[in-house]
């Protein structure tokens, strides 16, 4: 039987809870201990103490204590709730949900437990469970709009749009008065409902709803955009055209609006003159507009293209806009345009002056026409579709001669060296560019990147340190981790791969993996926050993005690099690496041997320290506890590099890669490499088939097909007959095709 507290202790218990909520952990533990002195088996107090200890970073002790609490009082919802919270804290969401459900069964009316359960369910995308929870929560607080909205969101995410809309309507019907125009929550609810109607495909009704309920909506841009879209979808062209011109008057730098307008105006795509005229109108109306001048270059041909491009180039070069080339290089897929653009720039140089320029030059511009033109040509000859690096260098030197202090020009000069394959010279020149403007982080970033490309790891972090926050404990590298600086960690890791420092390389790639974990966890607070704020459409959008977060190229790049490192580790194992392999692999093995030794040493040291700690159990945890908690026990990745099962470790990176980027051929190729080494032939074949479906002519696909056949011939006896049957028939289809 659970122990019962006296009145005085009950009040003390409430203090413990309050202490926990106020984050006064020491006080909380003290009060809990006071209760436990008299009632050592009081489950709820033990549980609360465990919860507090967990907040103090003592996870293992907290779990142990929570178990004791449960043994003392299996029927306590507090104990189960705490157990769930502990699991939640270590991100074991499945176990946490189970524990919450137990707690809720014991205390069905607890809003707190219900809420915690609901949040985990939606985080885990258990939509059906979330619907049930949200219904229960609605019953408790049916007077509040957000309870209804939450249920609608639950149905929406579960794919039941009609039910979601019904829930919103049910709430609207309970309102006594029409909400005021400035009621933001209502304004957003209207737009959310509108999105539900449109998503059901009933555009007619969506437009009707938008024009009635959405008439005075506070999100005016959304109303204007949706109206334009709906009118187009409904074939009401004239009104759609008007809607798009309203949008262009708000923002004339959005291609989508021009496309919408031209479609609605029913201008024939072949009627280039008419299309151009539309853009000309906006160019005239908005003298500072870039899109109206640039976009026609995409569809114009021949002389018309030449004229328009000439005007555009004059305008940009006169102003010395550094992105002129970047704005035009996408046209290079058309060979006529690729020839025409540099010749126009050459003419510009030869004529030495712009005639079409009607705008006065702006103050403070240092790049004058000629240097901007040389700069354009340098970039032209540096571009992969029109590359001639000698000419590129010639033009960039001319530009630099005119403006010796230009950061941009030196940046491009460094790029030319990079394309020459001379990473050292590239790094030097970029450093020179950096010294021209030491207060600009952009050029600082580039300098560090080029140092990394040249494997100057130490110099690069020093360069980065010029702009990271000085007060961060752990220096620039820690700051870059804190600030989730993905590009640096990736480049740093890739540089370590080139240097054969496998541990550090894996360490960086793992950091990126962890950053994505954090980004996924980041959505958690918004499940409740967004409902409170009432911003539902943005929340739904976030949820859908988070669902496939790891398809991001930031992830795939790091994952592919990590996997290739693990593959090399598998192929050149630690102990026999020196035999019969090339020189670099031998270095590699030696490096890893060293790393393994270091890892063993560090593990021993950690053990000793732990033993020493045990010897003095009453040593108070000082302020340093925060630091020790954060301290990395493997800063150089020695432990990562010391793995004996690199193929298993590679799976951590591979699984999300294949799940979220199945159409990335490099992902499938990497998948094959891992699975074939693990002798998972069906899965290797799955990757091979997927790669072949993406690009049959890819050289790796051919190579892997051959290797698959060889491996299969060798290993076929070990395979289960049913698998072998399937593999053979599916592989034959591939090989034959």
């Amino acid at each position: 039987m659970p122990q019962v507290l006296s009145t005085k202790e009950q009040s003390l218990f409430r203090t413990v809870v309050r202490n926990y909520e106020d984050k006064q952990y020491k006080k909380g533990v003290k009060a809990a201990d006071q209760i436990l002195r008299k009632n050592p088996k009081h489950g709820d107090t033990l549980a609360m103490k465990a919860l507090i200890m967990n907040s103090q970073g003592k996870t293992d002790e907290a779990f142990a204590l929570a178990k004791v609490a449960l043994q003392c009082d299996m029927k306590s919802h507090v104990c189960w709730h705490v157990y769930g919270l502990l699991y939640r804290a270590v991100k074991n969401f499945e176990e946490a949900i189970k524990a919450y459900k137990f707690a809720l069964r014991l205390e069905p009316d607890s809003a707190q437990i219900q809420r915690d359960l609901a949040l985990l369910q939606i985080q885990m995308r258990d939509y059906q469970g979330y619907i049930v929870s949200r219904r229960a929560m609605l019953t408790g607080r049916s007077g509040m709009r957000q309870s209804w909205t939450a249920l609608a969101v639950a149905h929406h995410l579960n794919g039941d749009l009609a039910e979601a809309e019904r829930v919103l309507t049910a709430y609207e019907d309970t309102l006594k008065n029409t909400p005021s125009k400035t009621d933001f929550e209502n304004s957003e609810a209207v737009m959310y409902k509108n999105s539900l109607i449109a998503e059901q495909g009933d555009i007619e009704r969506a437009l009707e709803h938008l024009e009635s309920a959405g008439k005075h909506n506070l999100d005016r841009l959304a109303v204007l955009e949706l109206r334009a879209t709906y009118l187009t979808q409904l074939g009401r062209k004239e009104e759609a055209a008007k809607a798009y011109s309203t949008l262009l008057d708000r923002n004339s730098e959005y291609k989508k609006y021009y496309d919408g307008l031209i479609e609605a105006m029913e201008v024939h795509l072949d009627d280039l003159k008419a299309r151009k005229a539309v853009y000309d109108g906006y160019a005239e109306k908005y003298p500072r507009c870039d899109a109206a001048r640039r976009l026609p270059l995409d569809f114009l041909h021949g002389d018309e293209f030449r004229d328009a491009a000439d005007k555009y180039i004059h305008r940009m070069l006169d102003k010395g806009v550094p992105s002129t080339f970047a704005n035009l290089k996408h046209l290079y897929s058309d060979s006529f345009k690729k020839e025409t653009l540099p010749s126009l720039v050459q003419q510009y140089i030869d004529s030495d002056k712009s005639s079409a320029n009607e705008e006065p030059k702006r103050n403070g511009d240092t790049s004058k026409g000629a240097s901007a033109a040389f700069y354009f040509l340098a970039q032209h000859y540096n571009y992969y579709l029109s590359r001639d690096l000698d000419k590129a260098m010639e033009y960039i030197e001319k530009a630099i001669e005119l403006e010796p202090e230009s950061v941009d020009f030196h940046m491009t000069k460094a790029r030319i060296w990079k394309h020459n394959g001379n990473t050292q010279k590239a790094s030097e020149i970029m450093e020179q560019a950096r010294s021209l403007d030491t207060r600009d982080r952009h050029i600082n970033t580039k300098a560090a990147k080029y140092q990394l490309r040249n494997d100057e790891s130490e110099a690069a972090i020093k360069t980065m340190g010029l702009f990271t926050r000085a007060e961060t404990v752990g220096g620039p590298l820690a700051d870059l981790h804190d600030m989730q600086c993905v590009w640096f960690l990736t480049e740093d890791g890739e540089s370590y791969v080139r240097q054969g420092k496998i541990g550090l390389a894996l360490k960086r790639f793992t950091s990126i993996y962890n950053i994505f974990d954090v980004w996924q966890e980041d959505q958690f607070d918004f499940h409740s926050f967004s409902l409170r704020k009432g911003q539902i459409r943005a929340y739904i959008e976030m949820m859908r993005w988070e669902d496939h977060l790891r398809e991001h190229p930031f992830y795939s790049r790091a994952a592919l690099s990590a996997i290739s490192v693990y593959i090399r580790m598998h192929d050149v194992p630690l102990l026999n690496g020196a035999n019969g392999v090339g020189h670099s692999d031998a270095d590699d093995a030696a490096e890893r041997k060293k790393a393994a030794k270091k890892a063993r040493k560090e593990a021993q040291k950690a053990e000793r320290e732990a033993a020493a700690k045990k010897a003095e159990p009453n040593k108070p945890t000082s302020q340093g506890s925060e630091d020790t908690k954060k301290k990395d026990d493997d800063p150089d990745g020695a432990k990562l590099a010391a793995t004996t099962e690199p193929m298993n470790d590679a799976m951590k990176f591979l699984t999300p890669l294949l799940q979220f980027s199945p159409k990335n051929i490099d992902a499938q190729i990497a998948g094959f490499e891992v699975y074939i080494r693990r002798r998972k032939y069906l899965l290797a074949l799955k990757c091979l088939l997927a790669a072949a479906a993406l690009d049959k002519e890819h050289s790796k696909v051919h190579e892997q097909t051959v290797r698959f056949k060889l491996a299969l011939d060798k290993d076929s006896e070990t395979l289960p007959p049913k698998s072998l049957e399937v593999i053979k028939s599916e592989f034959t289809l591939l090989a034959a095709s």
Binding site: K26, V132, G143, H155, R166, K176, S528, R532, L689
Partner: protein
């Protein structure tokens, strides 16, 4: 009590920008504590709840689930085949069983479908 305070406050954010960010983020998971809406008609709420409860969601969901269960039960699955799928495709037991059931318990069909490239 200063010790208490020091202990709970993480490394102080130094610049004003950092302080702003930290303050904003710390309020994200505030528990909602609003009173119930003043502008709603309680009687209408009651009726709306009833409507939802009647032909509403939960019942719908439950029936759907039940239907699925009924369908699942009708298909026999060889435990050896489940083991094969778990081993060869590295699926969980639940997923392996679902995959088999989706292919009428035919293991070869299931394997073929699983390794086929997505459209």
């Amino acid at each position: 009590t200063t010790g208490d305070i020091d202990e709970e406050v993480p490394i102080a954010a130094k610049s004003a920008e950092d302080r702003k960010a930290a303050a904003a983020l710390s309020t994200l998971d505030n528990r909602d504590d609003e009173s119930s809406g003043k502008d709603v008609d309680q009687e209408a709420v009651r009726k709306a709840m009833e409507r939802l409860g009647g032909a509403g969601a939960t019942n719908g969901v439950v029936t759907k689930k039940d239907e699925q269960k009924v369908v699942k039960k009708a298909i026999k699955v060889d435990p050896a085949d489940v083991t094969l799928l778990v081993e060869e495709l590295e699926l969980t037991k639940i997923k392996a069983t679902d995959l088999l059931k989706a292919h009428e318990g035919d293991v070869e069909k299931a394997l073929r479908a699983y390794i086929a490239p997505a459209a």
